[in-house]
C-alpha cells in the first residue's frame, strides 16, 4: 500500500442527534500504527467504522491506500484493490453460519483456498467450537474468531475495535501475539480503538484521543 489513510473534515451525528464527530481529521502514513483512545460513548468505534469505509459520514473525506472511500461507496470501493480486516467490539460474525464458515467465507468469496482455516482455529483453541454458531459461543471465542479471520485474510489495513476486551490469560497472550505479528509487516496499516491504549500490543504506535467529536494528539505520547 503506497499511500496510507487520510481522513479530513469528518462530521457524524447519532440517530438521536448527538454529535459524534465534528471536523475530525486523521492522517496515517502507509505502515502507520495508531491507537484511538476515548472514554465510553466518545464515538471511537464510530470513527473506526467511518475511516474503514463502513459508516458513511455526513461530511468529510476518507482515502485509504489512495482509494476514495467517502464520498463514495465506502469499503466496497476497495474490492479487488486493497484488503482490509476489521475486529468489531461486539457482533461482526454471521449469526446463521458456524464459526468455521464465518472464518472461511471471505476467503471463499475471494476465490482463495480455505485450507488454513483449521490451522488458525487450532492455534486459537477454537477447533472444538468450529461447528457452533456465534450465539453459542462466549465473548472470548467470538473475539478470537474475529482476530482469526483477520489472520487468515492477511489484509493491508487492519482496524481493531476494543481488540483485547473480554480477553485474559492465555487468550490475551494469543491476541497480543497475533496483533504483534501483523505489526511486524512494515507496510501494514493498523488502527486500534480502545478506552486506553495498550503499548505492548502496538509498540511505537501514535496515540490520539477522540473528545468532543475531535481527534487530538495525546500530550507526551509518541
Amino acid at each position: 500500500m503506497d499511500e496510507g489513510l487520510i481522513a479530513s473534515g469528518l462530521a457524524l451525528s447519532a440517530p438521536d442527534g448527538r454529535v459524534i464527530l465534528r471536523d475530525a481529521s486523521l492522517e496515517i502514513p502507509s505502515g502507520g500504527r495508531v491507537w484511538i483512545e476515548g472514554p465510553p460513548g466518545s464515538g471511537k468505534r464510530a470513527l473506526l467504522k467511518v475511516i474503514a469505509g463502513l459508516l458513511r459520514p455526513e461530511q468529510g473525506e476518507v482515502r485509504l491506500g489512495g482509494i476514495c472511500l467517502w464520498p463514495g461507496d465506502g469499503a466496497m470501493a476497495l474490492r479487488g484493490r486493497l484488503r482490509t480486516g476489521f475486529a468489531f467490539a461486539q457482533g461482526g460474525l454471521l449469526s446463521n453460519q458456524t464459526l468455521r464458515d464465518n472464518l472461511s467465507l471471505p476467503l471463499r468469496f475471494a476465490g482463495r483456498s480455505a485450507v488454513e482455516v483449521e490451522g488458525v482455529l487450532d492455534r486459537l483453541g477454537l477447533s472444538e467450537m468450529a461447528d457452533l454458531r456465534p450465539h453459542a459461543l462466549g465473548a472470548r471465542a467470538r473475539k478470537l474468531a474475529q482476530l482469526g479471520r483477520i489472520e487468515l485474510l492477511q489484509p493491508e489495513a487492519v482496524f481493531l475495535s476494543e481488540p483485547l476486551e473480554d480477553l485474559e490469560g492465555p487468550d490475551l497472550a494469543l491476541a497480543e501475539a497475533l496483533i504483534q505479528g501483523w505489526s511486524a509487516d512494515p507496510a501494514r496499516l493498523i488502527v486500534a480503538a480502545a478506552e486506553t491504549a495498550d503499548a505492548r500490543v502496538l509498540p511505537g504506535a501514535r496515540r490520539v484521543r477522540l473528545e468532543a467529536g475531535r481527534i487530538q494528539p495525546i500530550e507526551g505520547a509518541p
Binding site: 440517530p15 463502513l54 459508516l55 474490492r79 468489531f88 460474525l93 449469526s95 471463499r108 475471494a110
Partner: protein, 261 residues
C-alpha cells in the same frame, strides 16, 4: 403557502424513496450479473435457502389458500348466477378471476406475510449485529451475498407459488363444479384451455418478476435501514409489509388498466 411546502416535501420524500429502491434493485441485479465462479459457489447455498424458505415451505399454505379461493369463488358464482347456467362458465370464470387476477395477488400477499417480513427482520437483525458491516469490511459484497439471492429467490419462489395456487384453485373449483353440477373433467378442462393461452402464462411470469422485485427490494431496503435499536425491527417489518402490499396492488392495477382498460 404551507400546503405547498408540505406537498413538496412529500413529493421529494417519495422521489428519494423511489430512487433508493431503484438503486438497491440495480445493485442486486448488478451483483447477480457480476457473480463469478467462486462467488457463485458461496451465493448459491444462500439462494437455495431462500427458495426453500419462500417457495418449498410455503407451498401448502399457498395451495390451501388457492383451493379455498377457487371453491369460494365458484360457490359465490353459482349462488349469484343461478339463473344463467353457470356450469357453462365454470372453467372460464376461474381462469379469468383467479389465474389472471386474484391468484398472483393472493400469492404475493402470502409471500409478503411469510417471507417479506422474514427478510426485513433478518436483515435488520444482521444490521444490528454488525454482520452487514463485517461482510463489507472483509470484501464480501452484500449486494451479491445478501440482496441478489433474496431477489432471485423471491421471484423464483413467487412464480412457482403462483402456479401452485392456480392449480389448487382450478382443482378445488372443479371439485365444487363436479359436486354441485356434475360437470365432467373433460368439459371443465376444455373450458379452462379455451380461456387461457400462452400469454396468460407469460403474464403470470411477468407479474412474478414485478411483484417479486417489489417484495424483495422493499423488504431488503427496510431491513437494512435499521440503525441502532431492536425496537426498530418490528417497525421496519411493518413498513416493509405495507409498502410491498401497496406497490403490488398498484402494479396489479396498472397491469389491469394496460391489458383490459
Amino acid at each position: 403557502m404551507a400546503w405547498i411546502e408540505t406537498l413538496g416535501a412529500a413529493v421529494r420524500h417519495f422521489l428519494e424513496y423511489a430512487g433508493d429502491l431503484a438503486h438497491l434493485a440495480a445493485k442486486a441485479v448488478g451483483g447477480l450479473l457480476k457473480l463469478d465462479g467462486a462467488r457463485a459457489r458461496v451465493v448459491v447455498p444462500v439462494l437455495k435457502a431462500q427458495l426453500r424458505f419462500t417457495g418449498e415451505n410455503g407451498v401448502w399454505l399457498v395451495a390451501g389458500a388457492g383451493g379455498i379461493l377457487g371453491a369460494v369463488t365458484l360457490l359465490q358464482a353459482y349462488a349469484q348466477l343461478a339463473g344463467f347456467g353457470p356450469g357453462q362458465y365454470t372453467g372460464t370464470l376461474l381462469s379469468a378471476v383467479i389465474l389472471r387476477e386474484l391468484g398472483p395477488v393472493l400469492a404475493s400477499v402470502l409471500v409478503i406475510g411469510r417471507s417479506g417480513t422474514a427478510i426485513a427482520a433478518e436483515l435488520g437483525t444482521m444490521r444490528l449485529g454488525e454482520e452487514v458491516e463485517a461482510l463489507e469490511a472483509h470484501g464480501v459484497d452484500p449486494s451479491q451475498y445478501l440482496l441478489a439471492p433474496r431477489l432471485l429467490g423471491t421471484i423464483g419462489s413467487l412464480f412457482a407459488l403462483m402456479i401452485f395456487l392456480d392449480a389448487a384453485a382450478l382443482l378445488a373449483g372443479y371439485a365444487v363444479s363436479a359436486a354441485k353440477l356434475g360437470t365432467p373433467w373433460g368439459v371443465f378442462w376444455g373450458q379452462v384451455r379455451d380461456a387461457i393461452g400462452l400469454q396468460d402464462f407469460a403474464l403470470t411470469g411477468l407479474k412474478a418478476v414485478v411483484f417479486g422485485t417489489f417484495i424483495a427490494v422493499q423488504s431488503c431496503y427496510f431491513g437494512l435501514s435499521v440503525k441502532a435499536s431492536q425496537t426498530e425491527i418490528p417497525q421496519v417489518v411493518t413498513r416493509a409489509v405495507v409498502a410491498a402490499l401497496v406497490s403490488v396492488f398498484i402494479a396489479d392495477g396498472i397491469f389491469v388498466a394496460l391489458l383490459y382498460g
